[in-house]
Amino acid sequence: MIRPGKARTGLMAMAMAFALVGGSAIGVVAQDKVTLNMISMAQAGMTPDEMNAVIVEFVALNPNVEIVPEYVAYDALHDKIATGMAAGQSPFDIMLVDDIWFPEFAEAGWLKDISADVPPEMLADSSPAAWDIVSYNGAQYGLPWLLDQLYFYYNADMLAAAGFDAPPTTWEEMLTQAQAMQEQGIAESPVVLALGQIEASITELVVFLYGAGGAFFDEAGAPVFNSPEAVAAVQWLVDGIASGLINPASTTYGEEDVRNTMSAGKAAFGVNWAYMLDLANNPDESTVAGQIQMAVMPVFQSGKDAGIESASNNGSMGFGVSAGSEHSAEALAFIEYLTSKDVQKRYAAHVTPLWTSLYADPELLAAQPVLLDMFAKQWPTAHVRPKVPYYIELSQTLQVALQEALIGAKSPQQALDGAVAVAVELAGQQ
């Protein structure tokens, strides 16, 4: 039996609770605030602090918008987006997407097709390679943001010590120079590459494949990475490793191992992303600070004869808007602001702008003479990895095939033929 006094207290408590909740609900409705959830990366590109500063600027210009950012490591980014979006709740309005995931996410219906919303001035002032990042089946699913590509690095001092005055323009020339270095005792394995059984090996495969005049898929969409050019490229890698000129441990290496090996002065030639330039020339991180320079990516002689000047891998990221977002207009406004010319110019030190006119900007050139200049030179020849929704499985298959060829378990032709068979099967399952 509840005593009357207790019942009264209970009723009063309930009334107060309702008042509080109701009052705050009314308060929320009255402000009409739009909250956007953003997921981005906590490594490379802009630091979370810099991104937060841009968010603050945007919110100042659009007071009714609130952006809640979340930053995760690159490896976690894909899974977090995939599991979050698969749950059907569209937890993110704005997403940072790696170029290899755009087909998968677009196919799953998670990204909004914003082809019609791309600012015309942005389209006019950027190169097609930038739009390769965010395109799938002819439509754009995001705005390009973190532009990066593989660069050819070389140790200028070791090159000079071996008696050469210019970096190589073909891979064969590089091996000749490496041979001389090995004979002169400058470096035991002068070339180091990231060919471990990880995604990095596919980015490097792009470089050698296109440098030989090959491709992953032809215009009809059939896999052609077992073409004679592709086999020749992989065979060249096998031979290089067998001769010891390419560090045999490369088949277990990632990007950081390449950087460490070059920074320790154990290699004269390597392939890596933009981030290595500063670190390899930083006395705190490198024993060869000041010696590491960039050059335009070489190609094979056969590629050069076919008119291919250079070939690199475009490994960039873009910002997309969720298809299920309730506030896609505001989300789109934010990513347009983030990729606007003004913002990109201010943060150009960490994120190479997509605006071509900025590559000739005197202020930016003064701040980053080497990187900006090299970016502009290499960018037109940067190729993306295959744009297929089953890319992750394809990549895994190719990684294993490449490994089998490189360690001699299979011949390059056998390994690549096997990978093509799997690709055909994967395409058929779509």
Partner: protein, 309 residues
């Protein structure tokens, strides 16, 4: 105390309308519900998922395909290769750990000066988290700066640094070395505890009968350790069959899938390719294998233990 008609015999104190068993169930119910939620529900959902073709990027499009996921795997040579690698890893790893562990335990059992310290120190490799062990050994095996290369080079055993993890078979063996370093202390501790329970009279009797050290080991110690060895074997075999984290860090399944064990296949299917149905099927297959192994052990070794005692 309630009053009663007959002073000698007290009336039964328990005059419940509710039977004992119902009260018992009521008390256990919260835990049972919790266990159902944590164990049974995911188990059943996973089983159902394994009977469908489900891709995470298209969760609405899951189709029921019965046992096709299972038959796909059982028919795929790649699957059996992974099982073979896992079996190799398990047999060699557990075998070496058992022999090494028993040897170290026997050594500690001699109670030489400082034996207590050694017994304590031997726990350290086991206490280090597997991830830390894997990272450490990854650096030890490193082809350019690794401690293994450094040591062998300075000893003159090799004349240039070797990329130890380059070859698929060698990589598997080096992973086993790391796992043995990490897990042998477990065997040692169990064996030491069991040895402490062996009465000294048995050894004295053996000595009087003229048994050598070797004979007393085989005729006295080993039979008495049967129970402990069974425990060690079951636990370590089940753990070794499900090995994942040490491989993930040390070799990532490579080179050329040389260390692709069955748990790694489950990880790949589920978390890289997002084929939830196939991942669930592989997980169940792993559980099936482990169950079979455990049953075999219990049958073979438990009966022997029964006979010995």
């Amino acid at each position: 105390m309630t009053s009663s008609a007959t002073p000698d015999r007290p009336t039964p104190r328990r005059r419940r309308h509710v039977p004992d068993s119902a009260v018992g169930w009521a008390m256990v119910a919260p835990t049972v519900l919790f266990l159902i939620a944590i164990f049974a529900y995911p188990l059943i959902t996973t089983a159902l998922t394994s009977l469908q073709k489900v891709k995470l990027s298209n969760p609405g499009k899951s189709t029921f395909i019965g046992l096709e996921n299972y038959t796909d795997f059982l028919a795929a040579p790649a699957f059996w290769q992974a099982v073979g690698r896992t079996a190799y890893f398990t047999v060699v790893s557990v075998g070496v750990e058992l022999m090494l562990g028993l040897a170290i335990a026997a050594f500690i059992n001699r109670r030489f000066a400082g034996w207590r310290f050694l017994r304590l120190a031997i726990i350290i490799p086991w206490a280090v988290p597997t991830i830390a062990v894997a990272t450490m050994f990854r650096w030890i095996y490193n082809a350019d700066y690794g401690a293994l290369n450094g040591l062998l080079f300075q000893l003159g055993a090799i004349d240039r640094y070797v990329p130890w993890l380059n070859d698929p078979f060698a990589a598997m063996n080096w992973v086993i070395v790391a796992d043995v370093w990490h897990s042998t202390p477990f065997v040692v501790l169990i064996a030491i505890a069991a040895m402490a329970g062996i009465p000294n009279e048995l050894y004295e009797a053996a000595r009087i009968d003229g048994a050598s050290k070797w004979q007393s080991w085989w005729r006295v110690t080993m039979p008495m350790l049967r129970g402990a060895i069974l425990v060690v074997l079951v636990v370590r075999t089940v753990e070794a069959f499900r090995v994942f984290d040490i491989i993930y860090i040390l070799t990532g399944g490579g080179p050329a899938n040389g260390t692709l064990v069955i748990s790694y296949v489950a990880y790949q299917e589920t978390f890289r390719f997002f084929n939830m149905g196939r991942g669930a099927a592989v997980s169940f297959l792993i559980s099936l294998f482990v169950l079979l192994i455990a049953m075999v052990y219990l049958k073979v070794l438990a009966t022997r233990t029964g006979e010995a005692r």
